[in-house]
């Protein structure tokens, strides 16, 4: 019994952290129409940043600043933001493709750098030696996990409320205006590329926050955590949940994470031994089918955007 509850807490914590990431992506894609092909890089920047800043000294690589935890987390978010600022500055003036390609490239380069640069973040071995905050008071067991889950939940709700207010604000209306018709928005005297940059950085900082929490949860991060898989999963969560709808984003995160975990479990349990090597491939095919299928048959997602004045589909 305690085993089941403990697993459920573990599952819900991971899903909630991913839901925060999906919310960040929703601001970029759902609300502003910015394609982020390298979600995992910003997530990873948050995770690496937090652990390097907040960890204990390690031999051979950067880190061990032992910063007060909230500051370390903010530092991780800032790292994601700075990366978004650089990429956004270079690409947001250009046609949409450039952002897609550049963000995809950031993710490849980020993983590549983390894997190779031992002096920076331990290379393939990853960043160790991070002490989870308040571990002395709460211990390492079930109690800690419950407390951590509640913290993540509070952060998720805070991010949700923040984004809901942002989307309802004049700035949010501007974002949608730019998404629907950039020329019209710029004729109102607004600079679309600056507004898009703001939205892109804000979304990436939220992705960094999710990454920071993820790193904290495992007290460890390595290049294996920043593989493209995560990008695809987070996309699928948003597309299935419903781009443009924050509740849909959260719903999609839990649904897809549940389906992913369940399919992995089912494949490992029921697939013949010789097929075990291919469970990864099967899961990827499934996620590809989910993405393509949703776009073809239900592009608005399971929970569609509510306040739409959309011209999607009718525009050339």
């Amino acid at each position: 019994m305690i085993g089941t509850i403990s697993y459920l807490v573990f599952f819900a914590t991971t899903a909630s952290i991913l839901a925060i990431a999906v919310l960040g992506l929703n601001l970029q894609w759902g609300n502003t129409g910015l394609f982020n092909g390298g979600v995992v890089a910003f997530f990873g920047a948050g995770a690496y940043g937090t652990l390097i800043l907040g960890g204990t000294p390690q031999d051979g690589h950067l880190g061990g600043y032992g910063l007060f935890y909230p500051l370390a987390l903010l530092g991780g978010m800032a790292a994601a933001g700075v990366m978004a600022w650089i990429v956004g500055l270079l690409t947001l003036r250009l046609r949409h493709d450039y952002l897609a390609i550049a963000t995809f490239g950031v993710a490849v380069a980020f993983e590549n750098l983390m894997r190779n640069a031992e002096w920076l973040a331990g290379g393939a071995k990853g960043v160790r030696g991070f002490e989870r905050p308040l571990r002395d008071a709460l211990g390492d067991g079930f109690l800690y996990n419950i407390a951590f889950f509640i913290t993540v939940l509070i952060i998720l709700i805070t991010v949700y409320l923040f984004l809901e207010r942002l989307v309802a604000s004049p700035f949010g209306r501007l974002l949608r205006a730019i998404r629907e018709d950039e020329e019209a928005a710029s004729s109102l005297g607004k600079s679309p590329s600056r507004i898009r940059l703001t939205a892109f950085i804000t979304g990436s900082v939220i992705l960094g926050l999710a990454g920071g929490l993820y790193g904290t949860f495992y007290a460890f991060v390595s290049p294996q955590d920043v593989l493209p898989t995560l990008t695809f999963q987070i996309w699928a969560m948003l597309i299935v949940g419903g781009a443009g709808n924050n509740r849909g984003a959260i719903f999609g995160a839990f649904l897809i994470w549940g389906a992913w975990t369940a399919s992995g479990w089912a494949l490992s349990r029921f697939a013949p031994v010789e097929a075990q090597l291919y469970t990864g491939s099967m899961q990827f095919v499934l996620i590809g089918v989910v993405i393509v299928g949703m776009l073809m048959w239900r592009p608005q997602g399971l929970l569609p955007e509510r306040l739409v004045v959309s011209q999607r589909g009718s525009k050339e």
Partner: protein, 304 residues
């Protein structure tokens, strides 16, 4: 150093072939097709299958061409693979991209292409297994061009370069000498004006997929001849090919050719100063440099 340069040119020859199709699709259909590199895998595996098939049906064709490891059977297989990969590209467009295009807005296409890439790559893995395959099990001996410094070139590599240049020259002739070529360029520049001048848009889009797909097939086989055929080759090639289109300027066929060579050479020259582990990051560095100093690439034009 000179060896790196030579290797870079050879890498460039298959990157260019891949980038040509990608740049055309990106320009005419206005979306970054992340599944284009999977057409290279598709072509490489199709050639593998038909090579075995042709060899089984007509063992006499298994003879090698001069010093090359390439056989007549593989040559046939490449031609069949070009046709099949081109048709697959058309089919994928009909089944998926066309529907998404009609239903959603432009950027949904990028998502769809990522999804297609995942599907194609992993289905290939499920069918052919995850371990690498080779077109020829024989060891190809390199020719020694110079001993000091040591410069080695394999006959296959020379063939790849010559064949790639020949294909690009044929494409150049089509684009610059035939009205079909003018129609392709016209659609790339201004689709509605092309239509009122009598160009059938749907048919041109189909032709672009056919050309892009068949060149991708050749590129895939050439990659396989130079390295190995493996299901994840698309994943490793997608960024270099995109980098080639951005360096050359999206939409420019000549830019894609030059971009492919630049990316190939840069990647190999980087080995002189950087450990080989960093090679996958080089295309991204090139993209950043180009975006900083010449955002529309060498031959590209600003277009919203």
């Amino acid at each position: 150093m000179i060896q790196n340069l030579i290797d870079g040119v050879l890498t460039g020859s298959y990157l260019s072939l891949g980038a040509i199709g990608l740049t055309l699709v990106m320009h005419i259909l206005r979306f970054a097709n992340f599944s284009h590199a999977e057409l290279l895998s598709l072509g490489a595996y199709a050639a593998l299958v038909f090579d075995a098939l042709v060899t089984a049906l007509a063992p006499v064709l298994a003879t090698k061409l001069g010093p090359l490891s390439l056989t007549y059977a593989l040559l046939f297989a490449i031609l069949i693979s070009m046709v099949l990969t081109g048709l697959s590209a058309v089919l994928i467009d009909r089944l998926v991209f066309k529907r998404v295009r009609e239903k959603g807005w432009e950027l949904s296409m990028v998502f769809a292409s990522f999804g297609m890439a995942l599907i194609i790559r992993n289905v290939i893995g499920l069918i052919f297994g995850l371990s690498p395959e080779l077109y020829s099990k024989d060891i190809a001996f390199a020719m020694i061009l110079s001993r000091d410094p040591l410069i080695l070139v394999k006959p296959d590599q020379v063939f790849v370069l010559v064949a790639a240049l020949a294909l690009m020259f044929v494409l150049h002739l089509i684009l610059s000498r035939t009205t079909f070529g003018y129609a392709l360029r016209a659609v790339a520049e201004n689709p509605s004006l092309a239509q009122v001048n009598g160009v059938n848009l749907a048919r041109t889009v189909m032709a672009v997929w056919l050309i892009g797909g068949s060149l991708a097939a050749v590129a895939g086989v050439f990659y396989g001849l130079s390295h190995q055929v493996i299901p994840v080759m698309g994943r490793d090639l997608v960024l270099p090919i995109f980098a080639a289109t951005i360096v050359g300027g999206i939409g420019s066929v000549y830019g894609a050719v030059l971009g492919g060579f630049i990316v190939g050479i840069a990647g190999n020259l980087a080995l002189v100063v950087l450990p080989s582990g960093y090679t996958p990051s080089i295309p991204f560095m090139l993209i950043l440099i180009v975006l900083m100093i010449r955002p529309h690439g060498l031959f590209g034009e600003a277009r919203a």
